[in-house]
Symmetry: D3
């Protein structure tokens, strides 16, 4: 899929040191990224999360908010990431059932900015943090939960244009 001819990982300088890649010359355009991820859990855990949702506070709202906040902290957490003034973030959750009988919640995070580099890491960090927050809030009843399938789904804007995850990846 990624048949480019780059000989080196761009995050390293000529002397081999890790660097923040210079994007000063790149165009300022609107950029969008969508990332997804899933947490697997006992069926009973999902039931409790969903039954709590009618209360004033609930697991998924805490996870939702942690995801938005995490997108804003991405360049603090990922060493070579550029700081970016995000212009919009949305988060959504969907239930599922896995082939092994466990229940699941899938999170989707969409991040936007008008800037010189993409927001893939922001969307991915948001998804990852939402899932970690679900783990945190439910770990007292289900320590064995698994976070899985965090991946980029779509990317728009910038020189590389539109990228859409193909199903067979």
């Amino acid at each position: 899929m990624t048949k480019d001819n780059t000989n080196d990982l761009t995050h390293f300088s000529d002397s081999g040191r890790a660097r923040m890649v210079d994007v000063s010359e790149k165009a300022t355009t609107e950029r969008v990224a969508v990332a997804r991820g899933t947490i697997l859990m006992n069926k009973d855990t999902l039931k409790r999360i969903r039954s709590n949702e009618i209360k004033k506070g609930d697991v998924l709202t805490v996870a939702n908010i942690s995801a938005v906040m995490a997108t804003k902290r991405t360049s603090d957490m990922i060493p070579m990431c550029h700081p970016l003034p995000l212009t919009g973030v949305e988060v959504d959750f969907e239930d599922g059932t896995e082939s092994d009988g466990r229940a699941s919640i899938e999170v989707t995070v969409t991040a936007k900015c008008v800037g010189q580099t993409g927001v893939e890491m922001e969307a991915l960090s948001g998804a990852s943090t939402a899932l970690l927050t679900i783990y945190d809030m439910c770990k007292a009843i289900d320590r064995g939960m698994t976070i899985t399938n965090i991946e980029l789904i779509e990317k728009r804007g910038g020189k590389s244009g539109h990228w859409l995850r193909s199903k067979e990846v």
Copy 2:
């Protein structure tokens, strides 16, 4: 597996509001948690990561450091997490080949503290951040990488004692 009888998620108060659970009465003991996670990638991507390693900077060292730093920021990122004075963190990486032909790198993070609550979230956040950092450093050559199988492997200390992930989870 988690057949306890807790009726409510502990992270909510009597009035249903999200709270940081009160651990004031819990004993101060040494606590250890081990978490693991994997990133799947094209075989060529792994080859480049490994061939870069002999240089002065390399992808896995950046990921290693991001993991240690992330463990220290866990309570900043996960809303209901207690702040904890970590006493030690170790990170390790191992290569693998997946059944679908993709290559993989597995990260293991061990976190320790002497405190009133466990360090599971610290270990899990460290693992998650290491994998996001690998994604960031290699995304220019392999946008389709997948982060998967982030889970708690072991937990020691505190009232619940020793917990070890059973293979069949």
Copy 3:
């Protein structure tokens, strides 16, 4: 009320420089602080906040979570504040009607730690941040909201013992 005879503000050194007061010799005890604050708004704004609450996300849950997270960042924001490992935080909200006909929401934040100095600033910062978050989420429909009456209500633990706000302050 505060008729003590302290001659100097303790946050300054002998040479007059701002300092973090030395608490090394103070006893490690359980400490609790309760703070309260209010935001005044148009009656219609309160109605919309309350009608939104049945949705999956709602203004008060976002404010609730921002308060818990703010208590953990207090020593980052208040220059001479000691870093403290909080052991518990709870947040609650109550509606009211003010004498001038505006509606109001009152937030109460309770913070706990086992440490060498009190958690008043943590509780107060939590209350203040919850109210700022309500302002942020509703400012598009009510820019004239007023945050008011942020004060310490109660304090337990430490040398100064139990302090309870008297009504006639």
Copy 4:
């Protein structure tokens, strides 16, 4: 005053989840916001603050600096707030006497940016943090201080144009 016809709070997505509102399409203009707030205290507390001011460090300078720093951390603290590259911040303090005989200090914070959304929250967070810092530095001698009347005074720039707080709000 706020007679707009918005039917929903904009900080929620169609599926009811809390989101960072998309401002990608908004114009980049110079934006200014002025916020104000007051802390009430014993007369003796104000006297001590003012007599300390001739020393090398003083309460109001610490509060001044905390306000500038807080404006820069606003999007870290307020969950749905956009990150904004501030271009200028000014802080000022004025003494007063309240009708109930307590003394007061009023803080005014002016924040500026060239961006796609306003800086009201930055100005309000700055004012709130300045007052919390005064509380922190003086709490040893006056635990009963009250933070009050934090509100937006003026706002310029952006689609909604010039907004000035009317006296009778």
Copy 5:
């Protein structure tokens, strides 16, 4: 050298309060700053650092990464510094021998942004943090290390144009 006629330090307002200088009217241009600094150490310490470098992790890579991350946190640490969206950062290290017989490592940090004010503080903070990190990693074997000669080497962009450190400063 600094024969300008500025009568006042620009970081203070007319009323004498510390402020973030208003740069709203300044042009958005590409800006570059280069800073340098040195750490002096026992010869044996340098030998161990260099012999470790062939391992998977090494002192200079940790210092390298800490420098890049510190440039992104500059406005969080330096009170009156403007937040700036950095577009590129590079770090390099060089060994030396000092006249007093101690060994040395010199770090050079280059920071870039497209913005309304310069990136000198970002480059200087990066250099300073790299040297502190070297100290931290080696202090168990050489507590007497000295950090020295942190200075701006070059600055490009903005109204003041190109500035190059003259040798005889």
Copy 6:
């Protein structure tokens, strides 16, 4: 001076990865560290700093506060540093004249904690940040300032006991 026989830098694991050294078994004792550093400047710059000091805000108070706040952020900035609950921080400044005719300001930072590892990095980070802040506030009038001689002066507490910098280092 540092004639110990440590064969390896302790900040690396057996597999050569950077780690946060495990201090779980170390005794909790009171620990103190004193660090110092100097900034060299034009004589006129020092004169302006000192003449500004009678105003309500002044360069050294901003530097003082930045130093206290930086000590609290040390483990966020220095990758392998342990998070530590500081119990006290003091900062002082002294003028000087250097042999090359430049003026100087020397900062001294004293940090304390009751913990399992020392506070050298906190004191050094505080000193370094104070000097960077002085640079930032005066750079408009003296871009050629040099930060120099940041070093540990004294260290008490912990297994290694009392360490005092010898003059001839």
